[in-house]
Symmetry: C4
Subunit: 387 residues, 4 copies
């Protein structure tokens, strides 16, 4: 796998969604009879898709709706939901801002300090409406927000950095001890991320977490690779982390979920993530386009006031359907971004995979995608036949 | 051939039309003296091209015209031809529909139930006009439609699913027994598809079928790869299935035709399919642009009311020539989509292949196509010389 | 070099200009002191570039001008120059035709039969004006035109087919015996083409020819690959044929020139052709843009009345400079298509190659070109420094 | 690493920035605690970025500003700064010229002879304003300008050709003896370039130089590859030259800086250059867009009157920020071209690299970049999290 890239230096060839495809085998299954549920710790979810913790995607209402449909949505504790008593006011402001001023406005809005009482309040609001309460923050806020959220009845807590490690070096602040956080402080399932390698996944598994987010700089939706040069394509990183999960499971009997996060634009990418070993997938931009998303048809990065990193701009993504359409159809667009569950079930049926775990053993091939793929004759999508 | 794509996981590199080219050898032949006919069971066809079973491509009239020209056209038994006594009315409706409403209209049109009497009627109409009657349906309809069509005098019956297997698991309906269907129920040649691997092709060969359609998600004309993640490029899948055919022929003495279906956009792709081992090729969208096609310059997928898969839209493809022009020229467009038989004969001559079977042994090279290929200087197409 | 592309089938990876680059070594040379001349048989040409035998590129006047500048231009004996006493009339007609009617017009113009007396006349016209007379025809016309041209004083005769072989099978006409033609009938140097492999080059070398044209379907300027599926990228085909030349030279002491024909769009491509082993290069479309070209700013394929191949269209290429500018500058465009000799000399200097033969030993690397290359900052072209 | 590209010929696969990415490991560091300084000979620079010697980028004022910010800027001794007492006049002329006439104007402006007294004057002006005086010329001018600049108090002298070698062959002029120049004539640090291979780097190291510029034809900003066919991608060339530096250091104890020059368009590319082994990077076009650049929003190549090479055109690049913004932000554009130091520090933190030298040991992977990367959702740039 490693090739020479210079004198005395080798590098591993890694693969992304656009470079592989799934090959059918000797068995097919009626798509209506496959099982697509997954488990986080002891909780079973009918839908193995998680909405990402972005302010244009998830608020209390969205989280409740996603729960009712069988999935999970993660509320961001570092953004407008915990900085403002009434986040809808600033969300309106952002949506109505002039394009040229939107960046400045967002930067200003995110300088308002986080109110700790809102951390508890958002969790309680989700629970009160019958939703599954999953929340997320950066490592530096976890020691503070974790206990508050737990007290408020949170169901799942996510600690998420662009790149996470169990060995974070800092002299100016105290690094979060991930093992202590997952195994002692928190009684609810904790998900940690993001990581991309077998080694780091193995270290995260040993912290006692219940899930691991896989993905650093995987593609279009993230500028980590362009700005920082960092990134590992999602097929290889998911395979590697899933491999760590399986070996850890064989050793300990504890099954930790691998969640592929980022880089999936179409149903086919989601199917490939499961075939790579994912138990669930996390999707962001696709949900930003739903009518339930708090972004009102806009999407933006979680800009902060930190001086040493470029900030993002607000992007108009439009509203193309409901959360239910994204998950179960009927699709009204032809780009494979809607009816993800229908696509997954049909793919599993065609591949003879009865369960998500069966999907982990599907044969993959290396087959670079044709550039025009998906552009021409999008009309030809058919259950029985495709020409 | 297999490369590591992650820890503990390998994948095979597969190749598509755009990644290979044919290399000439030590012999050339006068293009007028090559033989391009093929055989399905005992019937010889002068033209090794089959028009695909799509409602915008094949109706009775088209099938008759294609037969007269020496080829085969397959009529779809799951679409408008068997749902409506007078399909031209709904075909007019589809062609005249407002673009925004065409999808809804098509979905509605395809909810009208199939009338079994029309299965027989269409076959009889083709036969009455002197055409070769080939019809197609999905596996779930085959047990019912096969005997009806046979009774009506059908010449060839095609059972076609996106992905076919001899082991289809379903508890809610009875799976079609392919061996029984091909060897006992049907007395006429049966073609099965689609498959992409040596293993499945071998199992299909043993059912007693006369032909196998090769191709799952091969390219631009199909969203299977984008939506379901499933697909194997056509050069590798054709080589593999042709290999299965040759080994089966050595064992049994029975020669079953391999038909490459999908992903061919130009004459060069057709030539590469034959060089990969195909006995015939199936083409869809190219024929949708003919004046004889029932789509009236429009093309659409065979949308159904099934809830778990995205549906297609109607696409305007325009009318660029007649069926005869597609097959024999003269070409009036320069994109290599017309005069396919002329291109095939000239290619065979340049490669020194006297017959289609000789083409199976042509040397292929791996040579990724240049993106601008075919865009500049399309003027320079010349028998004697090409600069 | 060969990789598996399917079960039981391997293919060789071949390389084109866009996939390789030249790496400088330990020596550099003042570009003004390199030697770029080449020899065909005993005749030395200061400029190793040949203008291709296309009707929009070479007429008598162009051939004379090219000769004066130290290069060679080939006049097409199968086109308007030998069909019309006054070809300028029909060239005007073609240039003035309505775009929609130009194809029909060209087809009609090329149905006028070739007049044998014009074969001699064109050769004599070139010679009378002091030019080097090189002419070209397809194999089927060579037995007739060769002796006529020789009688008229031709300096070099070229027999050119899309794909040439020493073993052409035809029952309806007599195949040209290439050995007899090169070694007995013709006393002047003969160039044969086109070929792409070591095997065929070796057979052509043994016919007694003085030069071999290398290139079948190499790129943008030719639709052979798109329409017929046939093509070998020029770096690999030139290396292979040059290898055959070197081995033949070691055996026989006779040095036959290898001429890379087609696929070169920029100075860098020309440099890579020489680094691949070429003694000279043949260029078509670049010269179509000169003010001396008979195409009047238009370029078209050598369309014939043959029924089984697509024909070309007339393309407007515009006039961007003179032949002298193409060869020696000054360049007024920035795309590397002008001042080819300046680019070659500078490249040779930077690579430490004193002669064209030294260029044959330049180190090549595999380095796929970046798509935006040459698009941005074209301003930065500088002798001393390039940033 | 070497693959067959033809019979009897192998070529090495080389890699560029777009083909690799950096993989995070088991340690992360607070980005505010990493060290990004570098040393040239004994002088330490807080900023490891050098502004390239181009007339649209560096003048006296720019050099002083860059020095104050902790970096280095190189003034071109072969351009307008030494041809004109008041270069601002001609820079205004260039900026105000009609697009069609700008090339002619620039060619004319650069025919004015270089005044040797201005070489000294520019150096003195930089020193007087407290700047670090680094100047550059082509090899043919070095013997003359080196001593003058040294006399005037220059801090660093750069000898730069498109391709440099210690063995330059010329009979019409005396080649510069690089060892004599670096070790005897000049007492200040000398930087030599450009080179791309282990062999040439090793020879340059032995001349006694203090730094080596790496990069020939690396990408978008240079037409060397398009026009001359010459070029080695920057990841491989930097790795190879850095390897030569390390081996030379082990032998001699003298550490010579490797400076990657060219081909970096975004922060991520800069990070990858350091991960390939660079001690500093040289950037041109990015600085042309600053308000301090003398080009007034325009950028052009260093055109000369030499007849055998194409010349460049003036390009409008616009003004997008200040030098300080390019280096330290805040970024107002989202393409990763601003806040390069912030990007580098964050990348180093995420990769667990405390110093630039630690970055040399970062794991690289081969991962071709997705074409749409950086195009969609540029909004999502965030310290804590990136989705």
């Amino acid at each position: 796998m490693a090739e020479w890239i210079g004198i005395g230096r080798r590098a591993r060839r890694c693969y992304g969604f656009d470079e592989v495809a799934l090959a059918p085998g000797k068995v097919t299954i009626n798509p209506e009879e496959v099982e697509i549920s997954w488990k986080l710790a002891d909780k079973e979810f009918p839908v193995p898709i998680i909405a990402a913790a972005m302010d244009g995607v998830v608020d209390v209402k969205f989280a409740v709706e996603m729960s009712k449909l069988g999935g999970m949505a993660v509320l961001n504790l570092d953004g407008v939901q915990t900085r403002y008593d009434n986040p809808n006011e600033v969300l309106d402001e952002i949506a109505n801002a002039d394009p040229k001023e939107s960046t400045n406005l967002i930067q200003k809005i995110y300088t308002t300090p986080i109110k700790e009482n809102l951390v508890a309040k958002r969790v309680e609001e989700i629970k009160k409406s019958g939703g599954y309460a999953a929340v997320s923050c950066i490592p530096n806020n976890a020691a503070k927000f974790g206990p508050i959220a737990q007290e408020a009845g949170v169901d799942c807590f996510i600690v998420q950095a662009t790149v996470i490690s169990t060995n974070h070096v800092a002299t100016k602040y105290k690094s979060l001890n991930l093992s202590e956080f997952c195994s002692k402080i928190m009684k609810v399932p904790v998900i940690l991320g993001n990581c991309v390698t077998y080694e780091v996944a193995t270290e995260l598994l040993e912290t006692g977490c219940s899930g691991i987010l896989v993905g650093v700089g995987p593609g279009a939706a993230c500028t980590t690779r362009g700005v920082l040069g960092i990134g590992v394509p999602q097929v290889t990183s998911t395979i590697d982390c899933a491999n760590a999960r399986d070996i850890y499971f064989q050793k300990t009997g504890r099954y930790v979920s691998i969640i592929t996060d980022g880089g999936m634009r179409r149903g086919g990418d989601v199917c490939k993530a499961f075939a790579s070993g994912a138990d669930a997938v996390m999707v962001g931009s696709t949900f930003a386009k739903t009518s339930e998303a708090p972004g009102r048809g806009f999407h933006w990065g979680m800009a902060t006031s930190h001086s040493n990193l470029p900030r993002g701009t607000r992007i108009k993504v439009g509203i193309t359907g409901t959360v239910e359409q994204i998950l179960f159809g009927p699709a009204v667009v032809d780009d494979g971004s809607q009816n993800l569950m229908g696509a997954l079930a049909t793919s599993m049926g065609s591949l003879g995979a009865k369960t998500i775990k069966d999907m982990h053993y599907t044969e993959m091939i290396i087959a670079p995608s044709i550039q025009t793929e998906g552009k021409l004759f999008q009309a030809t999508q058919n259950v029985g036949m495709c020409k």
